[in-house]
């Protein structure tokens, strides 16, 4: 008899894949809003997977940042621009090719990572992983963390620059 | 000092010999040149009166008893005006002012030179250099006095008076009268609601004794039926003993009556006149084509009134024509399209008829039109007939003419039917041929518009032999009963179009009310039908169709719709 966590894992994983598929290739609707809503569902299902991994902090942040803020802004933009060309657009060969290469590369990296990963049981995720996570981020991974912050800052400055009309 | 004004070009001045002798007068300080003579009520030239001269100057002088088309009586005194004439010196030469203009002597009472003396404008001829003071203080005072006198015994029952709203007494009281009556004694009460004739009710209290009605019936109709009896304040209009006021023109006295003394029994208490929408139309009762005004409210016709047109009916019309509107609102009007006796829709019926006619062999269709239809409808029917090689005809309708207006031809558009080629020199001569064709089976389809052919030699047993009987009519009859396709049409007040009267006068009439139920003006569905069967005419409006018709048919002489005013044009036949 499978454990409850296993059932939940397969349910969330299936939901993630299904919603991800429906997000990019929905046979019933080419409405961008529908795609966005399925992406939200994908994100929430992934948050469910994080919960199963006891990564509560990550799950909460996932929902808070991606579903709660980023996707709402996506929706905002879609609705404001009223994108309809998307409903008629044909497949673009070059885009498919580049996309395939990207997906392949990513899949390769992930497979390699999984291959070399230590068994799950050994990764001790203590209850309330917030504090250890914070410690790790500000000690071991300080450089990547700061680099990422600078990257975000650069992006923000870029956006402000682009949206200033007089600067062109 | 304004420039001299030429009198407006009326029919009367056009008839006068070219350069008309003119007289220069001043009306309210404005110099005008008026003809020396103008037509009187019979159209004969007579010395121009002050009232006519004032009219030429665009000044309206109030009056009750005066009427263009009636002999002058001069008894109401409403048109009293102050005037002046050039002063003549002892040397029989005009006295001049310092600036060289002739000095004018105002008319005054001979025994009291300070008091102005008025003259009745309707009966006083003008003289050269005369000055008419139509709104001087003295004139105003005279008018006030006359109105006060006329109103002494008036009951002031406007709330229950049918004339209210088009009453000269009301109008002049507002324009020229005093606000209050100074009369404090009891009023003389005269008979009310007197039955004067079969169509007329008289309220003597409201009468101002202008005698227009008496003059009309005596001089126009030659039926000397009315007169004034009693004396002084008790003057009363009455029918002479032993005579009834029942000729065919009595209702004209209601129009003539400037006040509410004579009212129409038909229109009595029916609707207040200010609610009526007025539409210019033409009477369809006979071939004379009297011009009418339809008074309607919210889709209901309440009355017909004559509309002045000197080329046709003058200001009169007969009672028969005037009362010939009640059937429009009859409950048994045809209101639905019927195919094979069942209620159907316009699209179904027209589709079926088009299909049938498009495949009909030449000569297998006959059309019986009506001379009550408009020229445009007849034109479309003729187009259809030409395409189908069909025999066409209309039906004659005869009656007794009279010496005034009623014509022997009781169809309003017999001339139009002949001009469009639907009927021939004599209406109805093709009917036996159609009947024979049906009997022999060569004619398989019959189209009937607005006539009951069972009364004219094509009886129900013959109609039963037809494959298709298209009937368009307004009221049910034996032919509409037999129709395979029944198309409800519209009465003249429900549509627009033109008629040509017996004398060749082409006249327009307009739509006053909507046709009931599914009924539509014939022109609409005929256009669809003719376009589908005989090819498009390239126009979808009555105006366009009319212009097309006058271009196609030489007798119409290429008259454009816009050139046909509300009083029509005479065609040279």
């Amino acid at each position: 008899m499978p454990e409850l966590t296993d059932i939940l894992f397969y349910a969330f994983a299936g939901l993630t894949l299904l919603c991800g598929f429906l997000c990019v290739a929905n046979p019933f609707s080419r409405n961008p809003v529908t795609s966005a809503m399925f992406l939200v569902l994908t994100i929430i299902s992934m948050a469910g997977l994080y919960v199963l991994l006891h990564a509560f902090f990550l799950a909460a942040i996932q929902v808070l940042v991606y579903a709660g803020a980023v996707m709402v802004l996506f929706l905002f933009v879609i609705m404001l621009l009223d994108i309809r060309e998307e409903e008629r657009r044909k497949l673009n060969g070059a885009a498919v090719g580049v996309g395939a290469i990207a997906v392949g590369t990513l899949a390769g990296i992930l497979t390699r990572a999984l291959w070399h990963a230590e068994p799950l049981a050994k990764v001790a995720t203590s209850e309330g992983a917030t504090r250890p996570l914070g410690k790790i981020l500000f000690t071991q991974y300080l450089l990547p963390f700061e680099v990422l912050s600078i990257l975000l800052l650069v992006a923000m400055v870029g956006v402000i620059l682009l949206s200033r009309k007089e600067l062109k | 000092m304004s420039a001299p004004v030429t009198p407006p070009a009326t029919a009367a001045t056009q008839a006068a010999p070219p350069p008309p002798e003119t007289v220069t007068v001043k009306v309210n300080g404005k110099t005008v040149q008026v003809p020396k003579t103008m037509p009187n009520w019979q159209g004969k030239p007579e010395a121009t009166t002050m009232l006519q001269a004032a009219r030429c100057a665009g000044v309206d002088i109030p009056h009750y008893c005066y009427h263009d088309k009636l002999p002058v009586a001069g008894n109401c005194r409403m048109c009293l005006v102050e005037f002046g004439t050039p002063m003549i010196g002892p040397d029989r030469k005009p006295v001049l002012n310092e600036d060289g203009s002739p000095k004018i002597a105002r008319s005054v009472l001979p025994y009291e030179p300070g008091t102005p003396r008025g003259a009745i404008a309707c009966a006083t001829p003008i003289s050269p250099g005369m000055e008419i003071y139509a709104d001087s203080p003295a004139t105003k005072q005279m008018r006030e006095a006359v109105l006060e006198s006329l109103l002494i015994n008036h009951p002031l029952d406007c709330p229950i008076c049918d004339q209210a709203g088009e009453c000269k007494l009301q109008e002049y009281s507002v324009q020229h009268g005093q606000a209050e009556s100074r009369f404090v004694e009891a009023k003389v009460h005269k008979p009310k609601a007197v039955d004067l004739g079969p169509r007329i009710i008289l309220d003597d209290e409201r009468c101002v004794l202008c005698t227009r009605c008496i003059r009309f019936t005596k001089d126009i109709v030659n039926d000397d039926a009315l007169g004034i009896v009693n004396r002084g304040s008790y003057n009363t209009i009455s029918a002479f003993p032993g005579k009834t006021f029942d000729n065919n023109y009595t209702l004209n006295t209601v129009d003539l009556c400037p006040v509410g003394a004579l009212t129409s029994k038909d229109f009595r208490f029916k609707m207040r006149v200010w609610f009526l929408k007025e539409t210019a139309s033409v009477c369809t009762t006979c071939g004379t084509g009297c011009n009418t005004t339809i008074g309607s409210r919210e889709g209901v016709v309440h009355r017909l009134e004559p509309r002045a047109n000197d080329a046709v009916n003058g200001p009169w019309m007969c009672d028969t024509g005037r009362l010939n509107y009640k059937w429009i609102a009859r409950a048994d009007r045809l209101k639905e399209v019927r195919v094979g006796g069942r209620k159907s829709t316009w699209s179904t019926a027209l589709r079926e008829i088009t299909a049938k006619l498009s495949t009909a062999p030449a000569g297998s269709v006959a059309i019986v039109a009506s001379a009550r239809q408009t020229n445009e409808e007849l034109f479309l029917l003729k187009r259809l007939a030409t395409k189908l090689g069909a025999i066409t005809d209309s039906i004659a309708r005869e009656g007794e003419p009279d010496r005034l207006l009623v014509s022997g031809d009781r169809n309003p558009n017999s001339t139009g039917a002949r001009l469009t080629g639907v009927s021939f020199t004599e209406a109805g001569i093709q009917l036996p041929k159609i009947a024979a064709g049906i009997a022999s089976g060569t004619i398989r389809s019959l189209i009937v518009f607005g006539e009951d052919v069972t009364q004219h030699g094509i009886d129900a047993s013959l109609l039963a032999k037809l494959d298709m009987l298209v009937v368009s009519d307004i009221l049910p009859n034996a032919t509409t009963e037999a129709a395979t396709h029944l198309l409800p049409g519209a009465a003249a007040p429900e549509k627009r179009g033109t008629f040509v009267n017996v004398k060749g006068r082409l006249q327009k009439f307009h739509k006053a009310v909507e046709a009931p139920g599914d009924a539509r003006p014939e022109i609409e569905f005929l256009q669809e039908l003719a376009d589908a069967v005989a090819g498009p005419t390239g126009t979808s409006t009555i105006e366009g169709l009319f212009n097309r018709m006058t271009a196609d048919i030489p007798a119409f002489g290429g008259v454009q719709w816009s050139a046909v005013g509300d009083t029509g044009v005479t065609l040279s036949l």
Binding site: V33, F56, V63, V72, L75, M79, L80 | -
Partner: protein
Amino acid sequence: MDFFQNLDPAVQFFIFSAVKIGVVFGVTMSFVAYSVLVERKVSAWIQDRVGPNRTSPPIAQFIPILGPFLTRLGIFQPMADGLKFLLKEDFTPNYVRLAYFWLAPAIAVIPAFLTLAVIPFGSTLGNPDNKMVIADLDVGILYTFGIVSLGVYGIVLAGYAANSKYPFLGGIRSTAQMISYEIAMGMSVVSVFLLVGDLNLSKVIEYQAHGGWLVFKQPLAFFIFLVAAFAETNRLPFDLPESESELVGGYHTEYSSMKFALFFLGEYANMIASSAMMVTLFFGGWTLPFLGEPASGLLGGLLHIGIFVAKMAAFMILFIWVRWMFPRFRYDQLMDLGWRRFIPLALANILVTALVVAFVNR
């Protein structure tokens, strides 16, 4: 009781949680219903009116002495309101995006209830293991923010689904408004957790039971949180998504009957959730300054729940009262307040708190 004690602990936990969920849900629903009544009554009094005082079931007035009084109090009004919402015609206009039109009200109401799952609404009941919180999550506050941030979808989708300009504008406004104030709200509580050192809401209460209410230590954070809560719940003076003078009814213009009622329900449930959060974070939750220890008996547990509910009700009345104190903000003022005042203030507050924690409270 013995029967219950003898059950498997997992089953015990399951049953106990189910009961807690049921009770919390029921209490919240009736709280919603009666907060509507309180809102109407308080509004009426502030405006010199009487408020609802008529509706009653036909039999109520025949109860001796109490009957007429009950009737005049208007306490049956929420039932009538609810019944009316159920019985009114559920009208769906033409050309709406049907799926989202149906989905939006549901999305609007669910997050408000989910938020309540992590709120400790009492200490313990009966036995020390029976914690009066449905889910004692370690990341409680983050969970709350995550769920609250999903609430915006209900409004955005309602605006989009109605296919009508006023709902659409309302939806767009609300998106921008809620995201903006979420940032300020989130930053304001960071300082609280810097002090407490844990994200678990039970721990926050524990801290306050010993160290005093956080509202005194973090007044600025409380103030920002309070104002942001008004913006998040779309209450006046921040009800721009549905400002009737310019947007007819905003995102729920095209909704009627039960679907409209769900939005209504969502708004009041959100108010309740916000009040509960404020009580928990800044006003010591179920504690009182002299009553900080978890209850040992049944009575004490109930008392703690009562204290919590009373504090929450006080906040509800604040929500209602503020509605009549301020005119509606203009949209640019709203955005200005959110981005240019509260976020910098909250950031400064974090900095100061961090410095204090690092150098003073060490």
